[in-house]
């Protein structure tokens, strides 16, 4: 599973989780360069690098923001996010909460890179969400009038 951490300057940090092995109550997370362990204990979540020294973890969900001192990251699971004002890859994901105003395509349509797929109203402005690649609309997951959170997959375009 690939994770994307996008910082406040829109720079991506990619983390590849190659394998997960579960042995009893301990889950082993095998990353490219390191291995991490996690388990639940008394309703809380704990992590460890060596299965001996354990520290408490906050319980997070995908699509949320995580912070390290002054760096804010948006954490995405599985999909590379595309910018709100410029296309990214084939997945169109919301960068901030907004409302779907109008859709211009349906599933199965062929689209060109840069073509407006839908209009999203966010921060009191109307934003045109454009296709980042040329291809076929594989799925359209939203409807007009729908209020979306940040980090929501709106559409997928297959090249």
């Amino acid at each position: 599973m690939r994770y994307y951490f996008v910082d406040q300057d829109r720079k991506d940090t990619v983390v590849d989780l190659n394998k997960v092995e579960t042995n009893g109550s301990i889950s082993k997370f095998i990353f490219s360069e390191k291995t991490f362990y996690a388990r639940r204990l008394a309703g809380k979540l704990f992590g460890s690098w060596d299965q001996q020294k354990w520290f408490k973890l906050t319980q997070l969900s995908a699509g949320e923001t995580v912070v390290s001192n002054t760096v804010t990251y948006k954490m995405y699971r599985g999909f590379k996010p595309s910018g709100l004002f410029s296309g990214g890859a084939g997945a169109l994901v919301t960068q901030m909460p907004g409302k779907v105003v109008k859709l211009f395509v349906k599933a199965g349509d062929t689209v060109e890179k840069g073509q407006t797929i839908l209009i999203l109203e966010a921060m009191k402005m109307e934003n045109e969400i454009k296709a980042g690649v040329s291809g076929v609309v594989k799925s359209l997951l939203v409807q007009p009038g729908q209020a979306l959170e940040s980090g929501v997959l709106m559409a997928e375009i297959e090249e």
């Binding site: 983390v15 973890l57 997070l60 923001t65 390290s68």
Partner: protein, 474 residues
């Protein structure tokens, strides 16, 4: 008093604190929720939940007619205003009194007397309380300013009468300085505040912000619960407070003097309920009255921790004319030391507010910690409300122990998803001059702890986040 219905006209951590006291005393705690905070965490502690319609503070917590409507509709007997919002609104207090509703706070006359900086200074002078030496009103000319400065003694501050928040002030160290700066300050004052009037005040060197907690009943008995020192501030907002004051330290004579002075002033204005008298103290250990806050304050917990006295419960008892938990001033004893760190949703370096959503929240605290907050996982901090999301308080056998405990508590406070001042607080608590108790209100500006906040990210912490999300996917 039992069964009386009390409306909490506030939110967040202080609403929770008030509800705790009301519930414990057998009163009915009525909490409100607004349209911009439908999932208000403070309701957890409130027995009744009432809708205060509106999307902005102006339309809700500051909307007197709306609140009066609620009071009528829900048959409210008393209102606790908390801090901020309507807590020092004399008109509101007067209106409630006229309608036979108890305002859990001081009487309207006391609020009026201490509400205005100039009027409160006059009251202080009348009561024989030392005030910052200076002009009693505006100083119209340079010549008059210089004459005054020579009487007060340099250094002085030329201050815009309409100024605030540290703006429109210039220090002067000699007659020449006054000549140079007088017109400049007038110009600055006119352009920033629309009023060119300025006054002259003694410039207290290396100032310490020291305040005394007052608690009074309706029978004219006024007590003090010792002092607090709140000198760690930025933009004139406190971030760390301690009780008792490390600057006063073991000087019990000075402690007695400043606390009894505060009581003298409170008595002079016929004060009742809880309040705080603020002083500024210089290196020379001379103190001067600054202002009085006629409300319960954010940092009240540290006083509760060193005295063992529940300020909110006693504030409520006083309002209902019930006997307080203690009988005499001598019953109030100082024990140990307490420190409070205000946890704020802001950038630890720039110290600017940084609203956001809490992705995860966990605590692992040492013994002796009190955390007053309104946090929960997925809680969104919006720009509508104050960036302060919690107060971390440690009580210790002495100051060093309190620092040790609160520092460990900061390590055990995990708040993911938003920027907080926690990294900055850690730098300050590790700092030698802070540990020695040697600091003034110039601390942040001088020592610049924000420059020592680590901004580099350890790549491993991202892997940890991934594991956490994966564990939740199952």
């Amino acid at each position: 008093m039992l069964g009386k219905r009390v409306l909490i006209a506030n939110r967040g951590e202080i609403a929770i604190r008030i509800a705790k006291a009301l519930n414990e005393l057998g009163l009915v705690s009525v909490g409100v929720w607004t349209d911009n905070e439908p999932e208000a965490a403070h309701l957890e502690y409130c027995q009744e939940w009432v809708h205060l319609s509106g999307n902005t503070n102006r339309d809700t917590y500051l909307n007197v007619p709306k609140i009066l409507e609620l009071i009528k509709k829900y048959k409210i007997d008393a209102v606790h205003p908390g801090y901020g919002f309507l807590s020092e609104n004399g008109e509101f207090a007067k209106t409630l009194k006229a309608q036979g509703v108890i305002f859990i706070g001081p009487n309207p006359e006391a609020i009026a007397a201490m509400g205005d900086k100039a009027i409160s200074k006059q009251w202080a002078q009348k009561a024989g309380v030392p005030v910052v030496p200076g002009s009693t009103g505006e100083v119209p000319t340079v010549e008059e300013a210089i004459k005054l400065c020579q009487t007060i003694g340099y250094p002085v501050l030329l201050k815009a009468v309409a100024g605030g928040g540290g703006k429109g002030m210039r220090p002067c160290y000699s007659d020449a300085d006054v000549k140079t700066n007088f017109e400049a300050v007038q110009r600055e004052a006119l352009s920033s505040f629309g009023n060119a009037g300025l006054l002259v005040e003694k410039y207290v060197q290396n100032p310490h912000h020291i305040e005394v907690q007052i608690l009074a009943d309706k029978k004219g008995n006024v007590y003090h619960l010792f002092e607090r020192e709140c000198s760690i501030q930025r933009r004139h907002q406190k971030i760390i407070e301690e009780a008792p004051s490390p600057f006063i330290g073991e000087d019990t004579k000075l402690r007695k003097e400043i606390c009894e002075t505060a009581v003298k002033l409170a008595k002079a204005v016929g004060y009742d309920s809880a309040g705080t008298v603020e002083f500024i103290m210089g290196d020379d250990r001379k103190f001067y009255f600054l202002e009085m806050n006629t409300r319960i304050q954010v940092e009240h917990p540290i006083t509760e921790e060193i005295t063992g006295i529940d300020l909110l419960a006693n504030m409520v008892k006083s309002a209902f004319n019930q006997p307080l938990d203690f009988k005499t001033q001598d019953d109030i004893k100082l024990h140990g030391h307490a420190i409070e760190c205000r946890i704020c949703a802001e950038d630890p370096v720039t110290m600017l507010p940084a609203p956001g959503k809490i992705a995860g929240f966990e605590t692992t605290f040492p013994q002796g910690i009190r955390f007053d907050h309104c946090l929960y996982p997925k809680f969104t901090i919006t720009p509508d409300f104050d960036p302060m999301v919690g107060k971390l308080i440690a009580r210790g056998y002495d100051r060093a122990v309190a620092i040790r405990k609160v520092r460990a508590a900061l390590d055990g406070l995990l708040l993911d998803g938003l920027k907080t001042n926690i990294p900055l607080l850690k730098v300050i608590l590790d700092e030698e001059s802070f540990k020695k108790g040697e600091y003034t209100t110039h601390y942040i500006a001088g020592v610049k702890p924000q420059e020592r906040v680590a901004i580099t990210e350890k790549p491993e912490s991202l892997l940890v986040r991934v594991a956490s999300v994966e564990m939740g996917q199952v």
